[in-house]
């Protein structure tokens, strides 16, 4: 249960093709993250899978059956929204039981499933409260509870953590990952935060302007970005991208090197001046203006004492260099 296949799925709003045509296979039990900048079509794609938007063309198959024309409720999917979308006039218990009530389950079965979901999500003592009386994190758990009780073929998450503060976001991220490991149900998760994508996903789908730029495991994307867009999008801080003569030396139009693959080393080939140094304790991020290369970000050890204006020599790890051609695609 939970295999989803997209075949040439297209979506246009009027004359604007938001998604010009996407093919994608999502395997049973996989945690797939759609990531991309704002307006890349990732939420639209999720809503097409959910059935909340009609496709302009193409086929959506769920567990081998054509679901393209099915209404949302008949697709066996559950969705968690960015705004939680809880029913404000119902108690937590009724919120979680709502899909079961709609499915016409016997009351005893409803209560059993609600109790079970509440136990998994630590909501048991809040069952009689209204959503308005809960914190953001608790509301998000209720929304997840409402999704769990339906025992769906797949969960769809539409930027579920973006309304939470930073600390809560990290802990909810872990909770959702653990939930996936417990339930082993397919999850599709939309985010613009590449850290969420990297930490949660089995498979990341990088989207840009309605097209898939690359599909792969987090480390595949990190180590082998297929093109400039993925190279620049995945990784924090960003990969350094260098054009011009320095790139030409390596037989490429653009070369990329991650901050951790540049070492501060006396006698290194790149001479520069430190512009900014950010001390994080464990690491220090240096912004260095390198002669003939440009501004580079370098990740150095936490003990380094370089300051603004200091001269520095850098050595790139040449085996970690990424080379890109004229079309922006990675060169072999």
């Amino acid at each position: 249960m939970g295999k989803i296949t997209l075949k040439q799925v297209r979506k246009s709003f009027g004359d604007v093709a938001v998604i010009p045509g996407i093919d994608l296979d999502i395997d049973e039990g996989e945690f797939v993250v759609f990531v991309g900048p704002s307006g890349c079509g990732k939420s639209t794609l999720l809503r097409l899978i959910a059935g909340l938007e009609d496709t302009t063309g193409g086929v959506i198959e769920i567990d081998g059956k054509d679901a393209t024309q099915l209404p949302p409720a008949k697709r066996g999917l559950a969705m968690v929204f960015q705004s939680y979308a809880l029913y404000p006039h119902m108690s937590v218990r009724k919120n979680i039981a709502f899909p079961l009530k709609m499915a016409g389950l016997p009351v005893a079965e409803q209560e059993k499933r609600v109790a079970n979901a509440a136990r998994i999500l630590n909501l048991t003592s809040y069952l009689d409260r209204r959503p308005g009386q809960l914190s953001g994190g608790q509301r998000q758990r209720v929304a997840i509870g409402r999704a769990i009780v339906r025992e769906p073929a797949a969960f769809l998450f539409d930027e579920p953590l973006s309304n939470l503060d930073a600390a809560l976001r990290v802990s909810m991220r872990q909770e959702i990952t653990e939930l996936h490991q417990t339930l082993k149900t397919t999850m599709i998760y939309v985010t613009h935060d590449q850290v969420e994508a990297m930490t949660m996903a089995d498979k990341i789908v990088v989207l840009n302007a309605g097209r898939i730029e690359q599909v792969g495991s987090p480390l595949e994307l990190y180590h082998h970005p297929a093109n400039l867009f993925v190279a620049g999008f995945i990784g924090s801080p960003k990969m350094n991208l260098i054009d011009g003569a320095e790139a030409a030396k390596h037989g490429a139009v653009t070369i990329g090197i991650r901050p951790e693959h540049i070492t501060v080393q006396d006698g290194g080939p790149w001479q520069g001046v430190v512009g900014l140094s950010e001390h994080l304790g464990s690491d220090t991020f240096l912004r260095v203006q390198v002669d003939g290369v440009g501004m580079l970000t370098v990740r150095a050890g936490g003990e380094i004492t370089l300051r603004h204006g200091d001269a520095v020599a850098l050595a790139p790890q040449l085996d970690k260099l990424h080379r890109f051609g004229t079309d922006g695609k990675a060169l072999a």
């Binding site: 409720a73 705004s83 809880l86 029913y87 006039h89 709502f98 709609m102 409402r146 339906r150």
Partner: protein, 276 residues
Amino acid sequence: MARTYSTRRKILTTAAAWGVALLIFFPVLWMILTSFKTEASAVASPPQLFSADWTFENYAEVWSRSDYPRFFWNSVVISIGSTLLGLAIAIPAAWSMAFVPGKRTKDLLMWMLSTKMMPAVGVLIPMYLLFQRLGLFDTKIGLVLALMLMNLPIIVWMLYTYFKEIPGEILEAARMDGASLWNEIVHVLTPMALPGIASTLLLNVILAWNEAFWTITLTTTKAAPLSAFIASFSAPQGLFYAKLSAASTMAIAPILILGWFSQKQLVRGLTFGAVK
């Protein structure tokens, strides 16, 4: 920082507010006072605000000479009936306009409202003939239909405004949860819009209760509500101001009391969404 006002200024503005309120309420107050006067002091010159010969006789006479309970009951049936029927039609209409608008939805809303700008007299003859031919003349069901149609644009507009305030994601969540359109409207939309629906209901009951043009024109005796009850006193006995005032007071009292007790709900509903 909050603005601060001097005590003097506060007193002045409060007095001005009371002055304006009294000015608006004065005709009603005058009518109520007159209803307790004798016919002689009601037309005294110069006019007396308070009469020395205070009396309940006008009420007794109006009560004995007419069938007040029947008019009252007709008013209740017509105003509540037309409002409930209007809501039953307007809730789905406003739902579709708010959540699945088409290209012309805004124009449609404007057109609906524009029908309210036409003088009622403009459709008097066709309405009158239609009512006669269809056997609706002087029937409660006829008036329920007529007033429902008169107020439908207002009901749709008000509900549309309230529904627009409800986040679409919640309705989408209901759809994902397996709610049919009917369940979505009954279990999610209506309870969430309840304050708005309640104030729409109240306002329309009041509008229908006070409607006089159609209720007087399209009835004779059987279905005549309280507006016709007042009119029946003004025509043949136009000079008897005290009795007319007593009849008028009896006609507006129920709605005045309803309005008084529901004013919080009315204000809340009318400013719904305006202040967050």
